[in-house]
Every structure is written in C-alpha cells, then in structure tokens.
Amino acid sequence: MISMLLCSLLLQTPRDLPAAAPSAGSAIIGGVVTTTEGTSRTPLRRAIVSIAGTGIIVRQVATDELGRFAFEELPPGRFTLTVEKGGYLKTFVGSRRPGRPPSLPIAVVAGQRVMDLAVDVPRGSVIEGTVRDELGGPLATAQVSVLQRLMVAGEPRFSALAGTSRVVADDRGRYRIYGLPPGDYVVQTVGGGTLTGAEVATDEEIKAADAAARAGASAGPRAKSTTPRVVTRSIVYAPGVTDLRTAQVISLGVNEERTGIDLTNALVFAAALDLLVTAPSGPPQNPSIGIASVSRQSVFTGPGIVRPGANSHFVMPGMAPGHYLFYGSASEPGPNGTSVPLYLSAEVTVDGADMSVSLDFLRGQTVSGQLIAAPTLPTLTDARVTLVAEGRIPGTTLRNPDASVNADGSFVVTGVPPGRYRIGLSGIGGWTLVSATLSGADVLDAPLEVRAGSDIGGVAATISGRATEISGVVTDSAGRPSPEFTALVIPADRALWLTAPRRTSGLVKIASDGRYQVTGLPPGDYLLAVIVDADPQQLADPAFLEQVAAGAIPIRLTEGQQLVQNLKIGG
C-alpha cells in the first residue's frame, strides 16, 4: 500500500519534470559484510545494507557474492549504516553491542572514498519449544513471544522486544523465535481473553446427562440457576508459571540456540467476582476502578467508571485465576459542599471459585511541610506542591496528589494514598527545589514513603531561584563539532545512581554545532561524560554507569553555578 505522503507527493508532480538526481555528491562509502561461525569468517551474500544521513533518503544495496557493497554519489556529510539479513542480527555499523543501535556515524568530505568498512554480522539467537495443553496435547494457535528482562533501579522490568513479532505455535504446538540479540529473555504464551459460555463437562455430569437423555428426561441434571462456568487460558511464562517474577530467565549470548523451552498452558476455570464497593461515609461518588495483574506486573483493565447497582454491588465475570490489584479513585462529600478524594488499592487472589470481595475506598493521608528560601520567599500565589507517585505496577497511578502553597510557604497535601512519592514544585518561575528534608534525610534523593494510617508532617523544602547550568562544545580530534555523541551527567556518589533520578542529566543530545547544555541539576558533585552508544535503559545499569564513570570528568556544582566545560573526543 502506497503511503498517503508518497501519494500526495506524486500527484503534485508536474509532467516532463527534468529527472535530475537531487544532491548527487562524489563521496563513496563501501566495504565488506562477513559473518563468523566458530573460527571461520565468511562473506555474507545477499545482505541488505542501508545508508541514511545528511540530505539523502535511505538508500540500499545488496551485498555481492563476496559480501561487498558500495554507496556512490554521496554528498559531503555524516552517514549511518545498517545491515540486515533474515536470521541474522540487524547490525548497526559501528555499534559495540551486537544487534543494538545506534550506528556510529561516518563523516565524508566531497570526493572522499571510504572503502574499507568491515562489518561482521552475527547470527541471531534462537529459542524453540512446544506449547501443550493440560492434557499434554499440542496447543496449536498459542501465541508465543519473548519479553526482554532489564534491570531498572535494581528491579527487573520486562518489556516486549522491538522488532520481534509474536509467533503462533503450529499444529504440533511448536514454536521457534529466531534473530534474537544477546540478552535476558522470558518466554510467554499470550492469553487474556475468555471463551464465554464454553464449558467442559465432568464425567459425572456426562453420565447423568446421558442417563437423562436415554430416559427421555426433559432437562439436564444441573440446576439452571448455576452461573455457566467460563474457561480461559491465562498468560503462562516458561517453564509454565503464571507469575512473571518466577519465570525462567533465558540468558542468550550471540548465536545461541536454546531448544526445549516447553510450556504448558492449562485450561482454567474463570471465576465471577461479586464486588461490594464501599467508602467511609456511604457509597463512593463516581468510582473509577482498574485492575492490574500483580503476577504479570501489568495493567489488566484500565480504570473505568463503575456504576454499581443499588446495593453497591457489581460483578466481574470471567476472572482467570491470579493475583490482582484493584485500584481506583472516587470521592465523597466533604464539609461546605467540597469533595474529598478517595482511593482504592485492594489485592485479590482469584483461584477459580466464584467469590465476594469488598472494595473499600479510603481517604488518604496528609503530607505537610514548609518551603524555605534565602534570604526571603518569592511570591507563592501560583505555587503548587505535587507528590509524584512511583507506582508499584506501571500504569496503576491515577492521580498525583497536589496542593497550593500558602503565602507563608506552608503546604498541606491531603488525600494521599499510601505509596512512594517524589516531591515536585511548580508555579514559581525560575525557582526549583534544592532539598526536602524529613527526619534528616533528603526525600528528593530517595522516595518519600507514605504509609496507611500515618500522616507525614514537617517536610522542610529548600528552594532556590538560581538554577545551575553546565554547557560547552564537543569536538572530535580534528576540532570538528561532533553532534553524533551524547553528553551525560551522573552523581559522583554511587549510592545516588539508581535512587536520585533528579541528579542524572539523562542522555543529552549534542547540537549540530557541537553545543550541549544541562540545566537545573541540584548542587553537588558530579561526573560529566561523552558517550557514543547508549539507550535510556542503560542509565539504570550500574555496570554501564561504572564504564561511564571511568571515562568521565569530575565536576562540582554550587547553587546557581553556570559552568562551562568544552570536551574533546579521542586522542
């Protein structure tokens, strides 16, 4: 299907337009693509090499019998190359990590010939196995995919791997996922739905029904009032568990084949949950309820407005066995026509039997404190303090509690559900939080823990009207601006690497003139580095940060300091 963009561009085309090739240049980039099996390195034929960069649309060539390729007529500029071939890792030329971006840019001037690129492309790794049903038969049509496990702040996080699709187990229940880059993986069979109304009769039921049928009885043995059972297949992780946290982690290197990763995805009976919705003073107003699966560490049903019946009950049919978190928000009338926010956070374990559960909406806790500034506080008319929640399961945070700040700098945030929070400040132009101490600890560098039934008072939050700034120019050894690199600032104190995101700059893009700028870091000791290839997830990997630290420059920021630091790459 031709894209809309392309279509509209083509239809605007006047006839008999001179077909001048746009921005034809005179530089050439070429090389050889190989693959290594054991100790032998062989040319990779019919691989597709793509080039992108300054002023050109993506161009492609196929490698020849000797693995050779060349791109001609390139304009002066910087270019990145990738190599693809079925079963092999998509290779980003110049990247140090197999199968991962980004490519290292190659700069050419007019007429330059770079013909010596040597690209070795590893085979992708493979996971293979069989999906079976509860009777040991093949589970054809089971969808199988891999989740990549990454460590974030010391916690495992699971995410779908970009570029790999689900495969469907064949009629023998077999699956094979190939082309995987090195990494840690979990194999899952994807479920989620139910087969409404489908039943599996027990042998006793069959016998009774059979007898009834032969006797000409007019009805089956089961009472008609019985809720029809609903069967389902849950998400199952290899080796056959429903809790993601207990799944088998498969660590793959380069070109590894892991077979026999078998799973059993059993048919289970789903339960109907009879849910009673309560609040401290009568039924809650506008209850909105979502369901997350604790076992899968993900949201199962996004929050939606629930309209319980007159008796405050509602029914969730077809809930597969598992450990769930019901979360939500509601309100109840407060004094003088105000509305008091309520939260819901209830964990429920479903084992296949129908059950009744009470979902109790609760009032939150209070967090109060005082803004401090030297020598005097600015105008606080529009100032707001926000508690930014760090949800236990991604996506389950519905609301970040906030409050306006009084003229004297005091603030009181009410209705705060239990959980972990970061304190944020907005509405005072140019002013930022420097520290927020509670019992001697800075709750900006580690989350503020709010516990059920326990209010928090006396948060001393120091603000400053002078933001820090680090800036400079990054150049290569020839003194040319090097926009392909990335600047990174991390705290010098390793203990803060994973707990204090506010002390990390994140990946800072360098402008085409080589300039970079990092603003708003709190005062303290830092490490400044320039790196070539990283993805944001690596910023949570202490091993990676150690590498960064090894090549970094130590810097110290005082309050409001404007630091200029130029950087030169390589020798």
């Binding site: 392309l6 561009l9 034929r45 196929a62 009805a219």
Partner: protein, 644 residues
C-alpha cells in the same frame, strides 16, 4: 467451489420443512433438549479432548446462531453435553485450534485457514471436508449418542534454498489446492524460518502446488527523485538534515528504477536483485521442486493426516531483461498507477505476480528485472464506490484517469533483449444499470430496508489471492434504480445483497430478457435495463427420494441445467441446493429461483468436489430434469443413484 469456503464446512441449506420465520424462535417454548455426544479421531476412534463444539441453530437461510454462542469443549474422554437446546434443526460444528490465532489459544472465527491438527468438521461428517448433517429435535427430544468424527489434517514440510544451498530465510511459501477441474483454490501460506525450513499444516487431503512467490515492487527513479527533492525542501525549511524514512522509497536501485525491499516490520520475503557484470539476476517465483512455471500436473498429492516431508525447493537466480512502456487512458498518461506483470496463465493471482510498477508523471513504467518468459501486463482502476444512486454524480466525482473500472491488458513475451515502448491503453469500465421491482400484494419493504439493499456485481471465481481490487456495487435511489459503475470485463453474478426481505423473495434478474439470477454472466459491454424482481409468491419444490445408503442416507441435490454455468457457479448460489436425509424420504424447498434444473439423489460421500464442473458432469446423466415455474409448487420423485 472451495475458493471461498475452504476451512468452512459445508452445511447444506436443508430447508426440508417450512422455514422458521424470524422472530418465531423467541416465541418458542422453553428449550429443554439435550445433546450428549463424543468426539473421536476418524481413523483411530480415539477420543479427542479439547475440541471446541459450537451449536448452530437454523434460521431461514443458512446457519445462524441465535443468541450468545453455545459452546462446549470436549472433556478428557472426548465427551460433551449441550443442555437446553431449542426444538428445531441444529448443527454441531467442531474445531481444533481454530482458524485464526485467537487471543488465548482459542478459536476465533475470523477468515483464515485452519491451524489445528484436525480439520474443522462437525456432526454428520463422513469424510474430510464433507457436509454436516443437521439434528432435528422435537420439543423436549434428546440425542444421547452424537458421535463426531474428525480427520487429522495433513502437512507439507521442506526447506527452501538458493542455488548455492544457502537457506532462504523469511521467504513466503504458499500452497494452492488444485481442484478436480484444474483450477487453483485458496491455500495457506507460511514463511521459512532461520534454517530455510517451512511447514504448511492443517491441509485437507488433495493435490497441491507449492511455491515460493517473489514479487518485485518497482518505482521509477525520476518519481523517487521528485519525492526526495520535495522532502529535502521540507527538511531545509524545518532546519533538519535527516530526511524521514518512506518505506515505498526504500529499496535497491536497478538502472532507472527502484526495487523496493520493504523495511523491517513489513518484510515481503522478496529477495533483492543483484547485478553482476552489468547483468541483473533475480530469484524468480518458483514451484516445487524447482520449476519457474506453474504446472498443475506437477501437484503433490497428500492423503488425510499425512505429514509429507522433504518437499524441498531450490530457487535459482535467473538472468532478466527490462520491460518498459507507457500507460494511457483516452490518450492521457496515467500517473501513479500500478501496472501488474503476471505470468501468462496465472489469471489474477497476486501471489504469482512477478512485479508491480508504479507509473511516473508521464505514464511511464519500467520493470527492470523480469525473468524471461510470457506475461500479461495489466492495469485497472477500482469501481466507483457506493452509494451510487445518482449515476451522473458518480461519473464526474472520480478524478482518476480513465474513470472507475478502466482497465487495460496486453500479452508480452520477454526475451533476452527485453521489451521497450510497450503501449498499454486503458479502456473505460462498463456500467450496469437497472431497477428493482416488487410483484405481489404484500406491503412493500419500507424505506429503511431498501436503503440498506445493494446490488452486488461479484466475480464468479476470483483467482485465489486475486489482485482485483474492490468489488463493484450500487445502492438504490429513491425510485429503486441502481447504477453499478466501473466493471472490468470478466464473469460475474448480479444479485441483490439479500434474497429475502420480509415476505419478499428474489424471483429473477433479467438482462435483455435473459434470466441471470445467481448464474454467471460474462460482462463485456454496458448493461442497461437490468430488472431485479422480488415476489411474495416464491416458487417451491417438493421432493421425495426412494432408497437410501445404509450408513450415508441420501442427499438430494438440485443444480442448474445450463452447462455453461457449471464451470464457475459460486458455491453460495441459490441455484445450488442440497438436503441430507438420514434415510429415504422427502421434503420441501420453500423458496427456489425459477428456472431449469437437474435433480439427483446420491450418497453424500460422492460429492467431494462440490461444486465443480467435474461433479456436475458426473451427476448429469443420473439426474432428472425439473422446471421450476414462478409462483408455483413443483414436485419431483427420485430414486437414490449408485455411482462407481
């Protein structure tokens, strides 16, 4: 024909008694019937667990489940029970693994091929892909021993390599079933894995051709350059140096053309061309075991449940030539049109398409790497979209060159020297105009019913995975006129979108005095004054059959007497009727299109090729001629015929 219904099990439209009127079912008394049964492997009699059984309850035409679906999964002993079954005629369908990857490993009844280890079936089936039998339950009646036999599906397995023995990875492998009359029916496709291995599974027994399709998508570099220049302009204006990725512009340059490779995520499986010493080589569409031309006689025959291995294909690079030309309509170049290059004899099968090229602003197209051989070059516009109650508005609202349904086709023979300056002129599409009439004293359908009524002009037998685009259709205007605009020449059926509107039944579709209702008609000119007539006094047919097969009962079949219709009568045609009788007996078809028919009673197991010219030719000498007259009840008496 299997084309449209492969994977779906035929259930005869068994209108053996007066139809159950719509709405009557709700009024029926409490459903209390009981069906107890079990599912077994047809060859081993072993019980099959986990088979999804769905209860179908009949309405006037065909099988429609009323209310929420009634489903059971057979238990570990293969047993199942349906309770509270309403009186009437019901079918029990059985599937393993489904025909679409459902969200949870269950069945999703979307279109697609079965992907389970057993072929879809149901109660009463006596052969793989055979017809189901209905169960007729009186109020409170029970069935205690409904045995469902299921047949294992077959598979084809092999490896695809190139001429050096290297595996071809992620290439498409397709199977097409060769029907008894030599045409190709739909079949599944799969992709090779990282070892070049493939498995085409869940196949019915039969003859198959297996192939690796290779279709180039081509655009001229001048079009690419024009688009690039515009993208550069836009980028400069926005101050960015890197241009956006346009998948259609991503490919390998061969001469003046760009051959698309598809980008990650939309891999076409087509391998890139290679140029060696100025000559361009491609991998051609290749048929098992390594031929580059389609030959239905080379089909592989597989038995029920067979796992055929070593169905290996070698795809060898071949030299190519350049084919170029210009596409015009009424002398005006067609810009941005797709021109298709199809191997001669492959009709409109998109999977066999060698290449498709987009024309440039001057109507020029180039196929830069065509394997030598005989081809057809084809270009066409889609028909006009409904609603089309105002014909004049339609014809002027479509801006494409040549107008809706414009088409052009030319044979081309490609030798080593290639073909230059091929002139392909598109001719205007045809239009089909007419009106709808209602004969009878019943109240006319209301405006709402007429508003949803379409006249569909449907290809009788599209080749599997046809390149042909949107179907042609029209709505009715307030005076019940219709105008189907933009029909390309081919064989079609012209029929209203429903044959039943309240008390009204389709009676006839007349073209210049000729009856074509649900019969194939060749369209090679404009058709005016087509009259579609509904009646409230439909013709009916009463039949009785003497004799029955001991274990297969008797199947009554009615099919058109006109031989010209046999080759491509659509399987859904109302002129094809069958009733499975468990024993000798008879019944009534309360609504039959008037016309001349042949009627025959045979064992159902003889109807494996239904519907096909071969089958009708075989049945004709055994059949009795029946003329069904409008508004009248016709009777026919038959004796079960034995066939060798």
């Amino acid at each position: 024909m299997k084309t449209a219904i492969s994977g779906a099990v035929v259930v005869w439209l068994a209108l053996a008694a007066a139809p159950i009127a719509q709405g009557q079912q709700q009024a029926a008394t409490n459903p209390t019937g009981l069906i107890v049964g079990r599912v077994v492997d047809a060859s081993t009699d072993k019980p099959l667990a986990g088979v999804l059984l769905e209860l179908g309850i009949e309405t006037t035409l065909g099988q429609v489940a009323v209310g929420p679906p009634r489903r059971q999964l057979s238990n570990a002993q293969g047993r199942f029970v349906f309770r509270d079954v309403p009186a009437g005629r019901v079918t029990v369908r059985a599937t393993v693994g489904g025909n679409f990857p459902g969200p949870n490993g269950f069945i999703s009844n979307s279109s697609g091929f079965p992907i389970g280890a057993y072929l879809p079936g149901g109660f009463g089936q006596r052969r793989p892909d055979g017809a189901l039998r209905q169960l007729t339950l009186a109020q409170g009646q029970n069935v205690s021993d409904a045995e469902i036999r299921m047949w294992r599906s077959a598979s084809l397995n092999g490896t695809v390599t190139d001429e050096t023995g290297d595996p071809l990875v992620d290439v498409v492998v397709g199977a097409a079933r060769v029907t008894s009359d030599g045409t190709l029916a739909n079949g599944p496709t799969t992709k090779t894995d990282d070892r070049g291995m493939y498995r085409l599974s869940s196949l019915e027994p039969g003859r198959y051709i297996v192939f690796v399709p290779q279709t180039q998508t081509v655009m001229l570099m001048d079009s690419v350059n024009v688009v690039t220049a515009r993208l550069q302009e836009a980028a400069a204006k926005n101050g960015v140096s890197v241009l956006p990725v346009v998948p259609e512009l991503t490919g390998i340059r061969i001469g003046t053309s760009l051959v698309s490779t598809g980008t990650s995520g939309m891999i076409t499986g087509t391998q890139p061309p290679r140029t060696v010493n100025g000559a361009t080589y491609v991998l051609p569409t290749t048929f098992l075991p390594g031929s580059t031309t389609l030959n239905v006689n080379a089909a592989v025959e597989i038995a029920a449940g067979e796992d055929r291995t070593a169905a290996d294909l070698t795809v060898r690079a071949v030299p190519t030539a350049i084919v170029s030309g210009t596409l015009t309509a009424s002398g005006v170049p067609s810009n941005g049109m797709l021109v298709h290059l199809l191997p001669a004899g492959s009709r409109d099968a998109a999977l066999f398409e060698t290449a498709k090229a987009r024309t440039d602003a001057n109507g020029r197209f180039t196929f830069p790497a065509v394997p030598l051989g005989s081809y057809t070059v084809v270009a066409f516009n889609d028909p006009a979209l409904p609603p089309a109650p105002n014909p004049s508005a339609v014809e002027h609202s479509v801006g494409i060159v040549g107008g809706p349904g414009a088409w052009g086709a030319a044979p081309v023979s490609v030798g080593a020297e290639g073909v230059a300056n091929l002139q392909l002129a598109m001719r205007p599409g045809f239009s089909i105009r007419g009106r709808m009439d209602f004969e009878g004293s019943s109240p006319r359908p209301d405006e709402a019913a007429l508003k949803n009524l379409r006249i569909d002009v449907t290809r009788t037998r599209p080749q599997f995975r046809s390149i042909a685009g949107a179907p042609a259709m029209s709505l009715l205007d307030p005076t019940q006129q219709f105008a189907v605009i933009g029909v390309t020449p081919a064989r079609y059926t012209i029929r209203p979108s429903t044959l039943v509107i309240g008390p009204w039944r389709l009676k006839s579709v007349q073209v210049g005095g000729r009856e074509v209702a649900d019969l194939p008609v060749e369209i090679s000119e404009d058709l005016n004054n087509v009259v579609v007539t509904f009646t409230d006094q439909p013709a009916s047919l009463v039949f009785d059959v003497a004799g029955a097969d001991a274990d297969d009962g008797a199947t009554f079949m009615l099919f058109p007497a006109d031989r010209a219709a046999w080759s491509d009568l659509p399987p859904t045609s109302a002129r094809l009727r069958g009733v499975r009788l468990p024993t000798a007996g008879g019944g009534t078809l309360p609504f039959v299109l008037p016309g001349d028919y042949l009627a025959v009673a045979v064992s159902e197991s003889l109807l494996a090729d239904f519907p096909s010219e071969v089958l009708f030719t075989k049945l004709a000498p055994l059949a009795t001629a029946v003329r069904v007259t409008a508004g009248q009840r016709t009777s026919v008496s038959l004796t079960l015929k034995k066939v060798q």
